[in-house]
Symmetry: C2
Subunit: 269 residues, 2 copies
């Protein structure tokens, strides 16, 4: 059971196999101490019942996924406040923000980036009152059109600088591994106390689908040990959270997926 | 015919439809003044015959594609020297370098990046003697595993700084459009006299294939006019070179592809 210590499972990884209760029971059975649910999983049972399911299985919550979508959701500010409420209800360490891509028909990246900054600023006082940190997740540049116009760690940290307290970053191997500035920017994130989460999944070669072909750790090209060294040197020693969007892994039994996550976490991360 | 002024066609765009001679004849017929051939197209007829075909059609050459592959080709140094010879033979303005991805089985990006710097340094004296500039092309981060470990314009310009004279960069909309540092780095490239080429193609949503689903200008999310303003403000007013790797466009008649390139170049670029 000690093999799962320091690992969190983002429940998107199991979303085709399990509902929230089944996922939490399976994670607990495999010795996990942490999970990261998604809001659609909470919505099916309500946040209070979700909190009970998580606690009854002896689990704690790294992040709630997700708030954000400031560029494309006209109701984004209110929706992010509801997400903050839900995150507080389930005792999440932070709320993950996937900030949103270009609005339909727009080619104005700079305007979309300003809208993100304004959106987070509008939500931040509410998050601070709830003592619920907002975790900006820079996504791989291939998601700039339709998911997130924050695409490098430096850009996310510049935004944190502008926003002040109550906001930090998710360091996700899949999104950041390629960045020539990665190591110095992780060090900067640590100095500034901005690191809220450390997500893991691998980049496959070939990648056959931009969204749903992420790899199990060890199956792709990412140097997880090197990434971890940089994160730990920057002072963050929280759980590593595996988050796999993968048609291949969604097609396998949930118990096999969890067991493989634990095995690979210990072998290569 | 004036509609094609300032446009170059990278002949990868027509590689399924035409051989070098057919492509040059078709481009000339449509009023183009510039093309950019690939080395496999030269190899089929020999560089001297290729030079005659290009000249006989009244065409000039922007770049020869491609040298590079320093990380994966054990013969890279000699092969790049042969590419420089070929580029000089056809009167190319520059040789495009696609520098190479991670070697098979490697996860050491830093080592691959050092190998690229060493490789270009080894070839550079030969390029200088031939008065043939080497154009480093930073590729989109999604190509870091298997095509190029140079992934941002800042990184390419840092490498140029380290290497000195005789080397510059390709600014390709497809690879660079997402970069939060794009505008200041294009300005830097201009100040340092490093801009050798301006490539154009669009980023489609969704992108169904990482390699061969590039879009015709106007069909995706890139702001070509904004990109062009930054490039021209930096002092580069050379041809824009359309380079489409696209199963969709390879399936259309070559004349239709060329006509569409010219029409879109005038409409949105």
């Amino acid at each position: 059971m000690a093999g799962a210590k320091g690992l969190s499972i983002n429940l998107a990884t199991l979303r085709q196999q399990f509902d929230l209760q089944q996922a939490c029971e399976a994670c607990a059975k495999h010795g996990l101490e942490w999970v990261a649910p998604w809001r659609d999983q909470l919505a099916k049972v309500g946040a209070k019942q979700a909190a009970r399911i998580i606690a009854d299985n002896g689990l704690r919550v790294t992040g709630l996924c997700r708030g954000g979508m400031f560029t494309t959701d006209p109701d984004a500010i209110d929706d992010n406040k509801r997400a903050i409420d839900d995150a507080a209800t389930i005792g999440a360490d932070h709320l993950v923000l996937v900030v949103g891509g270009l609005p339909a028909g727009s080619r104005d990246l700079a305007a979309a980036r300003r809208k993100v900054a304004d959106g987070i600023a509008a939500v931040l006082p509410y998050a601070r009152s709830a003592k619920l940190p907002l975790a900006i997740e820079p996504l791989h540049p291939m998601y700039a059109p339709d998911r997130a116009v924050i695409n490098t760690l430096a850009q996310a940290l510049d935004l944190c600088d502008a926003l002040g307290d109550g906001v930090g970053v998710v360091l996700d191997t899949y999104h950041l591994w390629w960045d020539p500035e990665l190591v110095p920017q992780i060090a900067r994130a640590g100095r500034d106390k901005r690191i809220l989460a450390h997500h893991i999944s691998d980049f496959l070669v070939p990648t056959r689908d931009l969204l749903n072909d992420r790899g199990m750790m060890g199956d792709g090209v990412i140097d997880f040990r090197g990434f971890r060294r940089a994160v730990e040197a920057a002072g963050f020693t929280g759980p590593q959270e595996v988050e796999l969007f993968s048609h291949d892994w969604w097609a396998k039994p949930g118990d096999e997926v969890i067991a493989t996550c634990i095995q690979r976490f210990n072998a290569v991360c």
